[in-house]
Structure formats: C-alpha cells, structure tokens
Symmetry: C2
Subunit: 191 residues, 2 copies
C-alpha cells in the first residue's frame, strides 16, 4: 500500500525494503470523498498526508467570505499545515479533498517515533521541506511580479496535469483572480 | 565566533561542545557593508547565511522596476535562496545587507560534508525549514486576507524589533503597499 511513498523516499535518500516495511506501522491509509475535509480552520492539524491517489487543497476564507486556495497536492505530494502540525496550534487553513482521495497519513503522535526508528528520514523530510519552501518563495514572487494572465500561463506550463483536474473557481482563487477572469484568459487562448 | 549558531542549534537538538568545534571548519565568517549584495538575481546562490550581527533582506524587481522585499533576517535567522542553492540554478532574488552585516556562511560545496560529519544537523535543518515553510504559508495568507493596515499592525506586533531597523520603503514593499501608505498608517497610530 505504501509503495508509492517508499518510491518517493528513494528519489531522495537510500531506503531499503526492510525500512519500507517498517514504515507501515507509522502510517494509516485513509480515504476521503470529494469535498470532504481532512482539516477545518480552527482545528489542530494532527497529520501530514502523502497523496496516494486523487487531489486535495488547502484554502482559507478571507473577511469578505472569499475562498482563497493556497496549495494543491496530487499523487506523490505531501500536504499538511506545517505550523499547526508542529506547534499543535489551531490551524488557519482548511484541507479538503478536491477529488476522491486516498492518502497515507502520518499522525503527529507517531511522527517522532518514526524519525527515531528510521532516522535517515530526517534527511528526506529536510529535503522535502526545502523544496516546499522554495515553491512557497516563488509563489510570493509570482503574486507580486506577474500579471494575472502571466500567472495562469506560468502555472499551465509548469503543472499541465492540474488544469484538467481542478475546478476553475479553485484555480482562479489560487492564482489570485476571479473565475470570470480565468474564463476570459482561456477563451483568448483557444480563439 | 560561531557560538550564536551553536546556541541556535541547541534550541532544537542536543549539540555538544565537540560538535560545535567541528562546525567551524565548514563555515566562513563574512562581513558586508550596508547595501552590499550577498547575491544578485541571475547568479547562483552558493551559500546559506546565518546572521551573526546586522540585518539583510531578499528582494526582487518586478517588470515595472518596482522593488519587492520578500524576506528579512536579523541575528539568529537564516537567509538563502533555497531553490537556487539546492538546484544550483540562477536565482530570481537579490540578497542585500540592510545594515552592516556579519554572517556565518555555509557554502554549497561544504554543506553535504557538514551533514556527513554531523548528521544530527539533518534534524536541525529539517526543523528550520519547517518553520520557514510555516512562515511562508502565513505570509501568503496575510497577503490575501488582511488589508494593508492590518498587515502593518500584524507585523508590528510580531516583529517589533524590525520596525526601528528597516527603512520605511523596504517595509512598505514587504507589506505590499507604497511608502506613502505606510506613512499614513504610522501618522494615524501616533495621532
């Protein structure tokens, strides 16, 4: 069941089959229906999720009740609220299934045990966090320095597999504009 | 010279004096004058910097030549461009001294050797990256969900030590508005 996770780990560190087998006791495979919540704003985020199948997102609601999608994750990506997970504080984000979803969940209470049992995973998570950090930095840069249309084309080039899977209003809110604006950009491209 | 760095590491992992002494061979202490560049956009970021004294920032320039400050770092904070550093690709950011600056620089070529010599630092950097990631996530949330004035007060509450040290135009560009708007907020607060 956790083979995709072990394969992912092996992209970054040596990780033998014995280690992969030991991993299993620390993870639970969970499934969520489309639109189900893995976490709601105000709750403590108790798990890190590795996506085995499907797509999920984090989002938050601004004062005027507008939804802002913050991050997406598909197969082979991790999803959590790092701050809430680490500090055990109420989350300021929702995590929601965008499609029928299957994840390998690493609970906060088991995480330290996992890292004691398989300390080589410190390196794996260090690298994963580094990459997520680099992506978060670029996201801020794009928000400030690219126009809405440029952000769309940038996203479409880097993540073509997302375009077919994500509802337009979610993609628009991730890119920082309205669904109407997204329709206009797409119409322009096709015409 | 590296005592502040060892103290910082000890906040997160056990780290004895022998390990602290071994650290020294992997770091160079460097000084920069105010406004000097540690990295320019287009160059590869070859180091991670731990700030020993002073203040620095990352910024980028948008198409209309507007400067956007992305991050600040003062004593006890790390600064780098994670993507450029890890992937050895040209950076999309500048790193610049805001004040006279003294840093402990960990060069990319020495980083892997450091982690082989002191593997317990994988855990330290995993935690540091996690915290930086959590901060980056909150930064995106604040940009979308708080008004300019709210972002100022939020920043002033969380980082009062920065307010006296950072030129107004840099702080304004970090918060996503003009220096004139910042002056207005400050005038309102005082009146």
């Amino acid at each position: 069941m956790l083979q995709p996770l072990c394969d992912h780990i092996r992209r970054f560190i040596p990780f033998d089959d014995v280690s992969c087998a030991r991993l299993a006791q620390f993870f639970e495979v969970e499934t969520y229906k489309r639109k189900a919540f893995l976490l709601r704003e105000g709750e403590v985020c108790t798990a890190q999720y590795f996506v085995l199948e499907g797509c999920c997102r984090t989002f938050f609601t601004a004062a005027n009740d507008t939804e802002h999608t913050h991050l997406f994750a598909i197969e082979g990506w991790w999803m959590t609220d790092a701050q809430s997970f680490e500090q055990r504080t109420p989350s300021q984000f929702h995590i929601q299934a965008v499609e029928q979803l299957r994840v390998a969940a690493l609970r906060r209470d088991l995480r330290d045990g996992l890292l004691e049992t398989l300390p080589q995973l410190e390196r794996y998570f260090r690298i994963i966090n580094e990459r997520a950090l680099a992506a978060a930095n670029m996201r801020v840069k794009y928000l400030f320095s690219l126009s809405g249309e440029e952000r769309y084309h940038n996203f479409a080039t880097r993540f073509p597999e997302f375009l077919q899977r994500i509802p337009q209003y979610m993609l628009a809110s991730y890119l920082g504009f309205t669904p109407e604006f997204l329709s206009k950009i797409r119409a322009k491209r096709i015409s």
